[in-house]
């Protein structure tokens, strides 16, 4: 049973010249899979990830997440799906600098509104503890080191127990020690909690340890 499926996804860039970035992308991702998307710069892997994340709606073809067709949903409906089912980890952590780490982790859950604020706080502490940065919880996000910030970002991606976690070079900015930590966390999430991870990466070591590598060349998937 695939958690995510694409059928013949095509995408064009119109500026500055007409250019086809993605050509007939069709693939499936199983639940609990740790999948890496690899390829040279400009091959379209980030573009594909943004389409999979539902943020980019300008494409043709079909995208199914959790067996639901995404194409004809409104922006607001897609936002609600992202909030509930998808977690993001970016290369640059993109934390809200004015908020504490704890608050950063709590924000998606407060938005979802499934639990009370007290429960969300407890859950956020739990995620931070799992990631080993519980002691940094009340510091402003901007005061942490890069590795710590990335772990806060991961905790934030996890707070709503999403079906899929998407990473755009999640370890791109980290040293090998922190890269290992992040990879191990992903591994554990996939194996123990059955969460699916799709990560774009340039890191061969990281990719080799994943369940499956999808390699892209010139907007196509290399089988």
């Amino acid at each position: 049973m695939p958690i995510l499926k694409t059928e013949n996804i095509n995408k064009f860039f119109h500026e500055p010249n007409e250019f086809q970035v993605l050509k007939d992308i069709s693939f499936e991702v199983r639940r609990g899979e740790l999948l890496t998307l690899m390829g040279k710069s400009g091959c379209g892997k980030s573009t594909l990830l943004y389409i999979l994340s539902t943020m980019d709606r300008d494409y043709t073809g079909n995208l199914f997440i959790d067996n639901q067709l995404m194409n004809n949903l409104s922006i607001d409906e897609l936002a609600a799906i992202r909030n509930e089912k998808i977690g993001f980890v970016f290369q640059f952590h993109y934390l809200l600098g004015e908020f504490s780490c704890l608050k950063n982790v709590m924000i998606p859950a407060l938005k979802l509104g499934k639990y009370s604020t007290e429960e969300i706080e407890a859950r956020a502490y739990e995620k931070l503890r799992v990631l080993g940065i519980e002691d940094q919880a009340l510091k402003p996000a901007s005061k942490l080191s890069g590795g710590q910030q990335q772990r806060v970002a991961i905790a934030r991606a996890l707070i709503n127990d999403p079906l899929i976690i998407m990473g755009d070079e999640p370890t791109g900015n980290l040293d090998s020690k922190n890269t290992d930590i992040v990879f191990n966390i992903f591994r554990e999430l996939a194996d123990e909690y059955g969460q699916t991870i799709i990560a774009v990466t340039h890191d061969d070591d990281f990719a080799k340890k994943s369940d499956r590598i999808v390699e892209m060349i010139d907007g196509m998937i290399l089988k």
């Binding site: 943020m55 607001d76 799906i81 909030n83 970016f90 809200l96 004015e98 407060l110």
Partner: protein, 407 residues
């Protein structure tokens, strides 16, 4: 607390200086708005108060009419080719019936008959021409509040003193008359009579203080060589002076006599007030609008600074309307702080100025609290801050996170 509000609160508190600058802008705009409008209102009221000291809300009198042609059919020849104004008599026929008719109108509060006669005041060799107004003292006082403008003597004793006269302060000083002195009056009809000064009034209108006097209705009728049914004017006061024109129209329809509203009689003052109101209203609204632009600018800057935050919030599932709510909340918070401060500042300003004596005819600085001015200012201030926040917020809501992440 809602997460949108929470984020808005954090943004407000992070840059306190910016928030304060925007709020002070609103505060000053608000204070000036309320202050100017309160001032205008008080000036209006004090100028109409001066008018109502000497004018009834509606004056009913017999107007000279131009002769009508006897045949109105345009095909036939006119029987009168050169119509002239033909004054018959300036009295109101059957004044008691007219008074009763007017009193039936629910909006009317006071109706009093009046006889105006042009006279000469004589004292020794000095002579002043002027107007002696014959009134029923109690009713006239109810209408013009003459008691409050009396500087010497007692107006009410006019009723019990058929030979009494109440003169303006200008006549008193020109003729060196004090309460208790006698004054000789010659009417246009040639009647000569001596009155005793029982009170002196100051209306703060120099032209009136130097010419006007009040006498009993009966004395005025005698000066005109007429009987008790001779009435030239009927003065009417109504509940709401602003409705004078409409009610005057009704009275004309009912009685057939000309009913002149105070607005018509004091046209230049009324239009002057109106112009002043328009100009000051416009300026005060514009000042508030400028304060709105302050908020707009600052929020626009915030949106640009926080564009990464907005992108990540949208990636995490915040909808466009959540983003709008965050920034509109921020704008409204600044607006509410500014409005509260502005109301307080305006109240302090008004309270201080109220107690400053500027002298002259005006006395204390003409400014007063008016509930509706405050309410109007608050509502308008909040509407402006809402829109000043809404436009930058809409821009933020349109941010495409993919564009930001691709940079």
């Amino acid at each position: 607390m809602n997460i949108n509000t929470d984020i808005a609160k954090t943004y407000i508190l992070v840059d306190k200086r910016q928030t304060a600058v925007a709020a002070i802008g609103v505060l000053l705009g608000m204070a000036v708005y309320i202050f100017m409008n309160s001032l205008m209102l008080a000036l209006d009221r004090s100028s109409t108060a001066v008018i109502f000291k000497n004018n009834a809300h509606i004056r009913v009198y017999k107007d000279d009419k131009i002769s009508k042609e006897l045949v109105s059919d345009s095909k036939t020849k006119y029987l009168i080719t050169n119509p002239k104004v033909a004054p018959k008599s300036n009295t109101i026929i059957n004044p008691n019936l007219v008074t009763e008719t007017i009193l039936k109108n629910k909006n009317v509060t006071v109706v009093t008959p009046q006889v105006n006669s042009s006279v000469f005041y004589n004292n020794g060799k000095s002579q002043i021409s002027g107007m002696a107004v014959g009134v029923k003292p109690a009713e006239a006082n109810a209408m013009y509040d003459i008691n409050s403008s009396i500087v010497d003597g007692n107006f009410e004793s006019l009723a019990s003193n058929p030979n009494g006269i109440v003169i303006g302060v200008g006549i008193s000083s020109k003729m060196n008359l004090a309460v208790g002195n006698n004054i000789n009056i010659t009417s246009a009809k040639g009647v000569n009579r001596t009155f005793k000064v029982i009170a002196i009034f100051r209306s703060n209108v120099k032209a009136l203080d130097e010419t006007k006097s009040y006498i009993n209705l009966a004395s005025a009728q005698q000066l005109q060589k007429e009987g008790p049914l001779y009435i030239t004017d009927i003065s009417v006061n109504i509940k709401n002076p602003d409705e004078a024109e409409a009610i005057g129209e009704e009275i004309t329809q009912l009685t057939g006599y000309k009913a002149q509203s105070w607005q018509e009689a004091n046209n230049s003052i009324v239009t002057g007030n109106k112009m002043r109101r328009i100009v000051s209203g416009l300026i005060s609204y514009l000042i508030l609008l400028v304060a709105g632009f302050g908020i707009y600018n600052i929020l626009n800057m915030t949106v640009n600074q926080k564009i990464n935050d907005i992108a990540i919030l949208k990636a995490m599932g915040f909808k466009g309307k959540d983003v709008i709510r965050i920034f509109v909340t921020q704008a409204l918070t600044i607006g509410i702080i500014g409005v509260i401060g502005g109301v307080i500042l305006a109240a302090i300003l008004i309270n201080t100025l109220k107690h400053i004596h500027v002298g002259g005819d005006i006395g204390y600085f003409p400014i007063e609290y008016d509930f509706t001015v405050f309410i109007r200012g608050i509502i308008f201030g909040l509407i402006i801050t809402f829109f000043a926040g809404y436009f930058p917020a809409r821009k933020a809501a349109r941010v495409d996170p993919v564009d930001i992440f691709r940079r």
